[in-house]
Amino acid sequence: MLLEKDMKLADIIIHDISLVPVISRFGILLGFGDESIEGVCKKKSIDIDFLLTILNAFHDPQYLDKKYLQSFSVDLLIQYLRKTHQYYLSNKIPEIECLIDKMELESTIDKSSYQLLQKFFKDYKTELVKHIDREEKVVYPYVLELNNAIANDEITSSLIEKIKKYSIKSYEEEHDNVEEKLTDLKNIIIKYLSPSQNQQSRFRLLKELTALEKDLAEHAIIEDLILVPKVELLEKNVLIS
């Protein structure tokens, strides 16, 4: 289903509750009333094309509408991506850690298996933090620098050098694998952890892992299909001038 601006936001959320964390990144909190997406955006002065693009990318990437790609700023995009990073680090990851810790604590016979899961997830976290760090400290500043230079018409030769040395293309090639590990973890829990009474905790853990997986996949789609093409365009503009 393609989400459009005259649809009621409440209908969309009831249809796909995994969008709740997405709208909260835009400052839309549950209890937002019975308005259309457009109405909510007006009230909160949110860029509607941007919100729709993100919602559609998340809900069903098939409907990612490229025509809006150029209509919102890089600043907005990066602000959003930073918020998703924050959400992983301060919500999702701790939640999952907590669930695994709880299972380890409650386990009686198979403690060592849960300790392996703890260790696996700790390593995963380290990797994710490294990945996020690199984006926040290298990639995003580079993109913002490009954007500012074009906006203020201050293209320096050092910037041109930078583009030649480090273009967004090279960044595109480095990121994946963070999702693969989550799938592995899910398979281990589903297939290989020996059965015990804590089915409900396992189910919750699987749900959390699936939600994180989905959110990361959407994050990657936004980076690959929105951020990277936009930045490539910026790079081109700088090199031409």
Partner: protein, 200 residues
């Protein structure tokens, strides 16, 4: 793993054919190969030619030629006939099918009935036999931190063979990353924690 067991459905009612397809999905190993309407020409030849294990028939779809059709199908010892019946279906018709499914049943009842007819449950996969001896050996080296080339040298295999084994391991276990494989290997006592300490 048992191989796929084929079902042919004879009905004019879309709700029946799609309902049976969705039931078949619930029981793995079952496949609805074809849905025929009652007016299909040379129906019995087509059904027998397809060599199905089960033929599910809606008596309403055939009416007059039902009894000759069932006689022909029942002569084939490989075919099990299943009638879609309800409380108003006559005993004369019910008795001609080797099995029946009650169309007024809820999903759970239908699955139970179908499962009883289809018989044997799908064999449960056994952890130990999931990957072969050779694959287990390769898995062990991989989680100990050896590269594909190291493993090839140690086992006197080509690197290509090692990669093929590796892909098979990934597919069979559903685990792609080395850290995931390490957890699996430790849980199943394929390696000792001290042997992998360097790599995790």
């Amino acid at each position: 793993m048992s191989s796929t067991r084929k079902i042919i459905v004879v009905t004019n009612a879309f709700l029946f054919s799609s309902g049976i397809e969705s039931l078949a999905l619930e029981l793995s190993g079952l496949l609805v190969e074809h849905v025929y309407t009652g007016s299909e020409k040379k129906l019995s030849q087509k059904i027998i030619g397809a060599k199905p294990e089960f033929v599910i028939i809606d008596p309403e779809a055939i009416k007059d030629s039902l009894i000759p059709l069932l006689r022909e199908l029942n002569e084939d010892p490989e075919i099990i006939t299943i009638g879609l019946v309800n409380s108003s279906t006559s005993d004369n018709i019910i008795s001609r099918f080797s099995n029946t499914l009650n169309t007024t049943g809820n999903k759970f009842q239908l699955i139970e009935e179908l499962q009883r007819i289809v018989g044997k449950e799908v064999a449960k996969s056994d952890n130990e036999q999931l990957i072969s001896k050779r694959e287990t050996e390769i898995l062990k080296y991989l989680v100990m931190g050896y590269t594909n080339q190291d493993v090839a040298d140690k086992l006197f295999l080509s690197i290509h063979t090692v990669m093929t084994h590796r892909k098979k391991i990934n597919r069979k276990l559903g685990i792609k990353t080395v850290s995931g494989l390490t957890v699996y290997a430790l849980m199943n006592n394929i390696v000792d924690i001290r042997e992998v300490e360097r790599s995790i």
